[in-house]
């Protein structure tokens, strides 16, 4: 028998469903601003469709650029969300409960948005079907397609499974309602009643999917890196690209989880459940990944630059001391040194400080992805003239629109499903808040909703 105070149970329930209440002006204000960004991005894309990729700054000497960087960056965010949740589940980290739902939802939506860039970066997007109809199995782009689609499906399953008990809560709240949402809750809650055999089946499946999603996520980012690394272009043809991409994705993804958690915590007053401790734990993971990524970056540049190979030196030099040096050192500062200091110094290891470190990391890592793509493409292989990629307002609008889509999708999603994993929260709370057992002669009390049913 587990005991814990009733008010806590009720609070978890209320807090998880807080976004479902009538939204205030702040919610709609943010939603409208984000929607405007998305619309502006759509306008840019329509113009690009009519004018071609040149409208986005692409050319013969810069055939890849911002969209490829966005593809890697957004899918990387997804990777962090999925992995944080999976690893914390598998290690039975008790503090995970309030943040797993946010991390898993972010994983799905950032992946969906990231996948769009595979289409956006095509001058003739209708030809994307050729990947399906006439796949060239030797092409890393086909590997990408297969890996990303697999990852999307597994990520959705990984979001859905732990959601089932909470969908049952929603279903129960709307018992007797014949509306569309009530029907959807009934369908997706698949007759969940919180029975022991149901819990066993659910926990078993969630654990298995959590195990499977880790190698899958690693493979997705490795395959993404191979689209670069298996070419012979100097600067891309590197054995460290696979692990480098994986760590970069994890690093930026954990930072994105921190940002999402901080945003929704503030927006829905979840401070009682998501505390400084959660941020500090995530911050220590971020710090570890920061150091690891700095090490990878150093190793890559050292091994490539030290040999002074004729074809690689111009690319490395352009990054360290040449045309792209300001951006490279900005990345080192923003995504390397500053987050490290903000987290390492106890005085700045506050929620605000950690959120700033996360924001710097997300922005800095996006810049790093751009630096992976552009200097190498701009470096000529045949002629002596360097190309350049200057993103136009169209490319920037599409990028900002996509970035705005992730928080908007999350906001809308949590209007319909509990923002906190109620079942897990109560389970954790039961373990955390055990008090002295009362006598068995206690007066019975009816409790409704939640997993206890």
């Amino acid at each position: 028998m587990l005991r814990y105070p009733l008010p806590f149970l009720q609070d978890v329930h209320d807090a998880a469903l807080r976004p479902h209440a009538r939204s205030g002006w702040r919610f709609w204000g943010i939603a409208v601003v984000l929607a405007l960004f998305i619309c502006w991005g759509l306008v840019g894309y329509i113009i690009q469709l009519g004018s071609g990729l040149g409208a986005a700054g692409y050319s013969d000497t810069a055939f890849w650029g911002i969209y490829e960087a966005n593809l890697i960056a957004f899918i990387g965010l997804s990777y962090g969300g999925a992995l944080v949740s999976a690893i914390l589940r598998l290690t039975h980290a008790k503090w995970r409960a309030p943040i797993t739902r946010l991390a898993e939802a972010m994983a799905v939506f950032s992946l969906v948005v990231g996948m769009l860039f595979a289409v956006i970066h095509l001058g003739r997007p209708e030809r994307i079907w050729r990947l399906v109809l006439t796949p060239q199995i030797d092409s890393p782009l086909v590997w990408d397609f297969v890996a990303i689609m697999s990852y999307l499906i597994v990520t959705i399953i990984f979001l859905y499974l732990p959601l089932i008990p909470d969908l049952a809560v929603m279903r129960d709240q709307r018992a007797g309602d014949r509306g569309l949402f009530a029907r959807l809750y009934r369908i997706f809650a698949i007759n969940w009643r919180g029975l022991p055999e149901q819990w066993r089946a659910l926990n078993g499946a969630t654990t298995t999917v959590a195990i499977l999603i880790i190698p899958l996520a690693v493979s997705v980012h490795s395959v993404l890196s191979w689209a670069f690394a298996v070419t012979s272009r100097p600067g891309w043809h590197s054995t460290i690209f696979g692990p480098d991409f994986v760590v970069a994705a994890l690093y930026s993804g954990v930072a994105a989880v921190i940002l999402v958690v901080a945003g929704f915590r503030k927006g829905y007053r979840l401070d009682r459940y998501i505390t400084l401790k959660h941020f500090q734990n995530l911050a220590f993971i971020l710090l570890t990944l920061d150091l690891l990524y700095l090490y990878f970056t150093f190793t890559e540049l050292l091994t490539e630059g030290y040999t002074m190979a004729e074809d690689v030196v111009p690319v490395v030099a352009s990054l360290l001391v040449g045309e792209y040096a300001p951006y490279f050192w900005l990345f080192v500062g923003a995504a390397g040194i500053l987050p490290l200091l903000l987290i390492a110094i106890p005085r700045t290891r506050t929620i605000r400080g950690i959120a700033v470190a996360a924001a710097l990391t997300v922005a800095g890592m996006w810049l790093k992805r751009l630096l992976i793509v552009v200097p190498v493409v701009a470096h000529p292989l045949i002629t002596g003239d360097w190309g350049s990629f200057n993103p136009t307002w169209i490319a920037l609008s599409i990028t900002l629109g996509a970035a705005a889509a992730i928080p908007l999708l999350l906001m809308l999603f949590f209007k319909f499903v509990p923002i906190l994993a109620i079942g897990e929260m109560e389970e954790m709370a039961a373990e955390e808040e055990q008090v002295t057992a009362p006598s068995s002669t206690a007066e019975p009390l009816n409790v409704r909703g939640g997993v206890a049913q």
Partner: protein
């Protein structure tokens, strides 16, 4: 005046001819001797007289009447349809003392091949051309790739990854389907789902407020309590 008019007509005709057949006629002065080009092709023989498999010798003989013309360049071309119909260069050879220019050809594919030879003409001789249909019965690869030691590994890698993918998906879908089926079958559809109250003992907490005893999941019997 009449001669002047004739010259203009002739000049226009020559210009028109030049436009339709390239620089040959334009480069040919009016006083040049007419030439004839004869083209032939056969299988190539090695010094011992044996047929060299898949190799052909193409000869063009240039003459002006009875006179064999030496030291003149002849361009050999082959009509191809790759990337659209066009004449692809086979090579250029210079006529020898017998007026014969020779190239060796190693066709890439069997069947009838349309070969042409062209002498562009010069100050002394007018240009001429000839065509030949060469019946190629066998070919040998122009380039024999050295098989990569990793080629067979690549195939195995593809197959292995494919198998791994299938196994992965079987596990994912199997686990998911099994969980869904178990959840559904554990609780047959019941209109009272979610509506029944769970009766649990509650008491005043020793720390203030109300405390409630929740049975652990494993201890729930699975039978909904009576209303």
């Amino acid at each position: 005046m009449k001669r002047f008019g004739l010259s203009i007509v002739l000049a226009v005709a020559i210009a028109a001819l030049g436009a339709s057949s390239g620089p040959v006629a334009l480069a040919t002065p009016l006083h040049a001797d007419a030439t004839t080009l004869t083209l032939s092709g056969d299988q190539r023989l090695d010094p011992k007289g044996a047929v060299m498999k898949g190799q052909y010798v193409i000869s063009a003989t240039l003459n002006a009447g009875d006179k064999l013309i030496s030291q003149r360049s002849v361009v050999f071309r082959q009509h191809v349809d790759l990337f659209g119909p066009r004449d692809a260069d086979l090579g250029t050879a210079v006529t020898d003392s017998t007026g014969t220019a020779v190239i060796f050809d190693q066709p890439a594919e069997t069947g009838s091949q349309m070969i042409s030879a062209q002498f562009a003409g010069d100050d002394a001789f007018a240009g001429s051309s000839a065509t030949l249909t060469l019946d190629v019965r066998e070919v040998v690869p122009v380039f024999t790739p050295v098989p990569s030691p990793l080629a067979s590994l690549g195939k195995w890698l593809t197959v292995s990854l494919g198998v791994l993918g299938v196994v992965f998906w079987a596990v994912v879908l199997g686990v998911f389907t099994r969980a869904v089926v178990k959840i559904i079958s554990a609780s047959p559809d019941d209109s009272r789902v979610g509506e029944f109250p769970l009766v649990v003992p509650a008491t005043k907490s020793t720390q203030g407020g109300v405390a409630v005893q929740i049975p652990s999941r494993d201890s729930i019997s699975g039978v909904p309590p009576p209303r």
